[in-house]
Structures are given as structure tokens and as C-alpha cells.
Symmetry: C2
Subunit: 228 residues, 2 copies
């Protein structure tokens, strides 16, 4: 299916997406899940091959309730997907932002504020030519919205040579910690500095490649300003 299904307003809560602990940190609203995904530059994917767990960081993009990832065709992951056949390879997919250090008076209450999305499901290789071209646009526009229109698109040969894989967002949920300190009453009078140190990712000045004649395009200038 070339075009991804639309996401529901709220993703279904399932056994796999209901943790044993800290359920108050879970979020199932699609807009929360999608915002966490859309803000990230890379994801990590977990899979089992030769009886061992593996992990891989990779570039990705979201199309509705589908995620596309780019994996080298010669990688262990690509091989494992091929061996898994038509049902796809079971994977676990994560995107996480570290938003703040939470420095408490007591060692045990130190924490990180974070936003995370975890999805489970079968990963399948994209082979249909129209979906390959669409998937590549999704990956590029995920980096910088508008980018796919300002490049030479992949020809069908290129698109087929590189590994594009898709995961449907069905078993998916977000987990967030956004609050300040949670300390034991007895520790509040201790003479230690305590508080929150915010973190964020910023973009520096774009560095044009040698021989580039066009000025910095408007969509990229806007994106850089938004991330400065």
C-alpha cells in the first residue's frame, strides 16, 4: 500500500503498550506520539538474529501512522528481514528525547526528563516502486520539511538498490516525564543545590558545499531559525 493509513486520534492501549510500572507517564494520543517522532533525527531499532538481541541507530521518517527507516541493504537487519519472509521481522523501535537533568538533593531521586515513543511490530521491506519514491520523500522531509522538493529525486534503480523498510504504528505509545523534583520530605532541608537543568538540540549555521550557487533556501533558513 503506497499511502500510509491515517492514524487514529488515540492509539489503542494493548498489553504490549501497558507497562508494569509508572502508567501515569504513558500517552496514547496520536498528536503526542507523532510530535515526539517528528522532532527526532534518529531512532533505534531492536531485533533478534541468530538468537541474539541487536540494536541499530537509523534515520527514519513518518507518513501518517507508518514509519520508514533506511538501512543498508547489506546489513544484518536487512538480511534478517529477508529471512523473515512475508510476515516481516518482529522489531521494537524507539525514539527518545532527553529534555532536562533532574538533580535532586538525594542521589536516588535524580532523574531525566524525557519524551519517548516505543513501537512494536513487523518490519517489511518496501519494494513497490511508487512506495519507494514516496518513502524517500518522507525520509527527506523528516530531516527538514520541504527538502524533498529541493533535490534530485531517486531514480527507480537507486531507490531499489538502497534499503527502505516500513513499520506500521499499531502497537505504539509514548512515555514522558516532564515534572520537577520528587523528593522525600525528610531531604527537603538538606544543604544541596537541587533543581532542573533544561536541555535542547540546536542547529548551527548551515555550511554550503563547495560550488553551491543557490542562496540558502527559505524552508531551510526558517528551519534553522526555529532550531537556533
Amino acid at each position: 500500500m503506497t499511502v500510509a493509513p491515517e492514524a487514529p486520534p488515540v492509539y489503542a492501549r494493548t498489553e504490549a503498550t501497558t507497562p508494569t510500572r509508572a502508567r501515569d507517564r504513558m500517552r496514547y494520543d496520536a498528536d503526542v506520539v507523532h510530535a515526539i517522532l517528528d522532532e527526532a533525527f534518529l531512532a533505534h531499532i531492536s531485533f533478534t538474529a541468530f538468537g541474539q538481541p541487536h540494536i541499530l541507530p537509523l534515520a527514519f521518517g513518518r507518513d501518517g501512522s507508518r514509519v520508514y527507516v533506511h538501512v543498508s541493504s547489506g546489513s544484518h537487519l536487512a538480511t534478517a528481514v529477508r529471512k523473515a519472509g512475508d510476515e516481516g521481522l518482529p522489531v521494537s523501535f524507539a525514539v527518545t528525547h532527553a529534555d532536562a537533568l533532574v538533580l535532586a538533593r538525594s542521589a536516588m531521586h535524580h532523574s531525566l526528563n524525557f519524551r519517548c515513543v516505543i513501537a512494536h511490530g513487523p518490519l517489511r521491506r518496501v519494494t513497490e516502486p511508487d512506495e519507494l519514491v514516496r518513502g524517500w520523500s518522507v525520509l527527506l522531509d523528516h530531516l527538514v520539511p520541504g527538502r524533498s522538493a529541493d533535490t534530485r529525486p531517486p531514480n527507480r534503480k537507486e531507490a531499489a538498490q538502497t534499503g527502505l523498510f516500513a513499520l506500521e504504528l499499531v502497537e505504539v505509545a509514548a512515555k514522558v516525564r516532564t515534572h520537577g523534583l520528587s523528593e522525600d520530605e525528610a531531604d527537603l532541608g538538606l544543604d544541596h543545590w537541587a533543581g532542573v537543568v533544561p536541555l535542547r538540540v540546536v542547529a548551527g549555521t548551515p555550511e554550503a558545499d563547495a560550488g553551491v550557487s543557490p542562496e540558502l533556501p527559505a524552508y531551510l533558513a526558517a528551519w534553522t531559525a526555529e532550531h537556533s
Copy 2:
């Protein structure tokens, strides 16, 4: 063993740490591996439980050639480690930094500059009281060097209640992409802006909790300045 083994100057290259592709991006020097780990606020860990791959983001710290991770005692990961027994639970551990967007003239040559460390090995629960206390110091000083001395240390009961786990860095390597564009000769004349957009993580102004009387400590002011 309470104190972690010293790391070798260069980690051994093994079958598990030699990829099928892009071998020129691999780094085995301990100082490269450690710098990537020490700069990160969180890691992702991959494990297999009930026949399915799982992934989890978590806080961590490094002590020589050992990594400590903090996991809720009630989590699936803690349960899986308990079930695995004395040999530990096989895991795959990753830390990744996205350092720059690489925007090429052709869609296919878009990339990310990144630095990543991946380690494989058995995860074991820390139970020895001295190592629990030491491990907690490592976790705190990983967030901000010097932090562990400016907190109320965990008492033994607290340390035993929360889940601290250790992974020895033996099967470990870094993978890095740091260069600019790699484009096809035929695309160099295309009229698209192309170049690199650097990314970095910055810390904002520390926000003290209500009722904190000490001034911002020097180690934290220095750390914040370094990350601004």
C-alpha cells in the same frame, strides 16, 4: 567485583564488532568509545523476552570499561535479567549522537553525521552493597561530574530497592560519520542548495527547586557554561 576493570587502549575487534559494510567508519580506540559514551545522557538497550525483541531508553554511567544502567526493579528488563540467572541476560546497548544533517543535491546521498557506540554482552544485576553505592556515584557523576559529592548518598536500603545493572565493555566498538557530502559527479552541477547543518545539545539556565538556599555550585556552573 566492586571496581571496574581498566579499559585496554584499544578494544579487541571481534566478529560481533566487525560490520558487513562501511568498515572505515569503525573505531576501536578506548578514548573514542569512552568520549561518545561520556557525552550522552541516555542509552538504549535491546533484549529478547518471551521470544520478542524489546527496546528501552535508560540512564547510564561509565566506570572504566564497565557501564551501569538504572532500570526499575519492576520492569520487563529487570524480570528478564532475574530469569536469566547467573550468566546474565544477553543485551545489545547503544549510545548515539546526531551531529549534523548532511543535505545532498540528490535524495539518495542525504545522510546524518553521527557518533555511535554499540556493545554486546550479558547484563547482570548489581547486588554487592559496595558496588551498589559506587554504581550510584557513577550514574550521578555521568550526568554532571562532581554531582555525587553534592547529594545525600543512597543508604543501603534505597540502593538495594532500585535496580542497578552492569555491562562489561568487551564486545564494543564505535561507528562514526564525520565527513561532508559524498555525491555523484553528475549531480554536482544541479541547482540545489547542498551542505551540512551542524547539531548540538545545549543546556539552558538551571532552575532551582523551591526552598533551595545554596547558590549554584561551581561544578554545575562550569558544566552549564561548557554546554551553553
